[in-house]
Symmetry: C2
Subunit: 318 residues, 2 copies
Amino acid sequence: MKNIVVNLDLEPRHKQKLEAAAPGCVFTYAPGRTLTKELVQQAQILIGFPPAKWIEASPRLELLQLYSAGADAYIQPGILAPETRLTNATGAYGKAVSEHAFACTLMLMKKLHRYRDSQLQHAWRDAGPVTTLSGATVLVVGLGDIGLSYARLVKAMGARVIGVKRRAGACPEGVDELCLTSDLDRVLPEADVIFSILPGTADTRYFYTRERFAAMKPTAVFINCGRGTAVETQVLADALRDGQIAAAAVDVTEIEPLPADSPLWDLENLLITPHVAGNFHLPDILERVVDIAAANLDAYLNGKPLQNVVDFATGYKK
Amino acid sequence: MKNIVVNLDLEPRHKQKLEAAAPGCVFTYAPGRTLTKELVQQAQILIGFPPAKWIEASPRLELLQLYSAGADAYIQPGILAPETRLTNATGAYGKAVSEHAFACTLMLMKKLHRYRDSQLQHAWRDAGPVTTLSGATVLVVGLGDIGLSYARLVKAMGARVIGVKRRAGACPEGVDELCLTSDLDRVLPEADVIFSILPGTADTRYFYTRERFAAMKPTAVFINCGRGTAVETQVLADALRDGQIAAAAVDVTEIEPLPADSPLWDLENLLITPHVAGNFHLPDILERVVDIAAANLDAYLNGKPLQNVVDFATGYKK
């Protein structure tokens, strides 16, 4: 009989599904900001995305099931006790985040951000040539669920997809060519689109250096829906201002929320969305999160293998 | 030996292709605004998009090969002499216009226009739930080359496509269900997306009435890349302001350029692009236009059947 705290805004049918997976357990539902540090400290199992500092390596906490795919805040030393298991919600966000990134890609290629700006000025103004995914080379940096979903979308429009990952392995369906992260600099100059969906780890911090932006095509578009720490703010601003790339769209920034005086806001060739790509904004995300959490409750309580166990070295599921 | 006037901005290889198709003819190249009424009046064959009033039913003009798909300005009575043949460039614009419309569709569904507006205010502001094409019902009104290309794009993202056309016929590949224009009102309430790519004819003028917008889902998005005359300005403005539909994107307006004081500019749930979807903004449009024109030069001069002959009743190719 475990004490389970659920930091999610659920409908009765979702609660029924979780409770059926953990018979006899005591559930406390604390959606959004109703979660408190006390509840976190009391939890034996926590389903949610609590402020990491509230955990304080709580020795009571046996399983932390995140509703996010990103686990960067929890893999830092001292946050979780050594025995605490950590699982994420990889698989819940593939559709939502890949579609958001795909929409951003097309918006930039078709210059719709520029047309929106002209519209606000009541200006009927032609912004000139556009580009197409048909025949374009797209780098997908980070080949988890989201990266592979995005690869399928751009491929359906005729793009050639180069997938970039840390370790060698079989080339997944929907990816034309596999490239190791260590070989990235060889393929960067070929890319018309670079989609970054890297998790936030020590290895990915400031991954896109000045040298890497300088190696990109001046016509390239860069999309980041992974973690903002992959690009230093000023490096991104300079790359866009100096025309090292044509345009970018970021759903994540180095500091979030982006400060009101950030140099990024006013770059006309940058589209900023406020970390919303996966923010439960498609109904099916919550359904999938609940399914993953219910399966892991059942697995944990019955000594079966968990799914989506986070690899502390990569930030991905193992 | 015909006098051929070409109102296109061409590279030498394009000129070679046209001249090879009409050996012995005299070519005059008058790109863009260098075309004059005198040149139009002298032409026996004209390749371009001349101001219709300059033609004045010129008895010299034997063939007018448009570089546009739309032919509305030329099918009005009194513009062309009865013997003049009229052909358009259907087939050149499918990719460019369908991709533009698709990008607009995704932009509206993912609320990227709203995020752009927030960005201009330096506001990190969540705009709430989004929608997806996966499982959505998409009406494609006008099943020419552009409509069918768009149908393929939305279908690749998991949409169900209902194609709307004037005359019964076989259901084209990529379309799940065919609906006659006369049956449109039956399917309008089902549509999550309505893509209009109707030509400008007497039948399509003010096609989308107040009643039709009232029949649409309040969550629907409406995309018009056909002709602006399909919707009266105030009807569109009211539908958007009153929330009869969620959002719209128009590449065409009833009056173009859109007057600076139009009520449309400031509607936050409307995206306006200035009739650019097919405006030679993808390099392959010009290639295809030249191919069509060269084939029709050869056909006309050798008494073979022309392609893309415009049907004066529908505005489409026959």
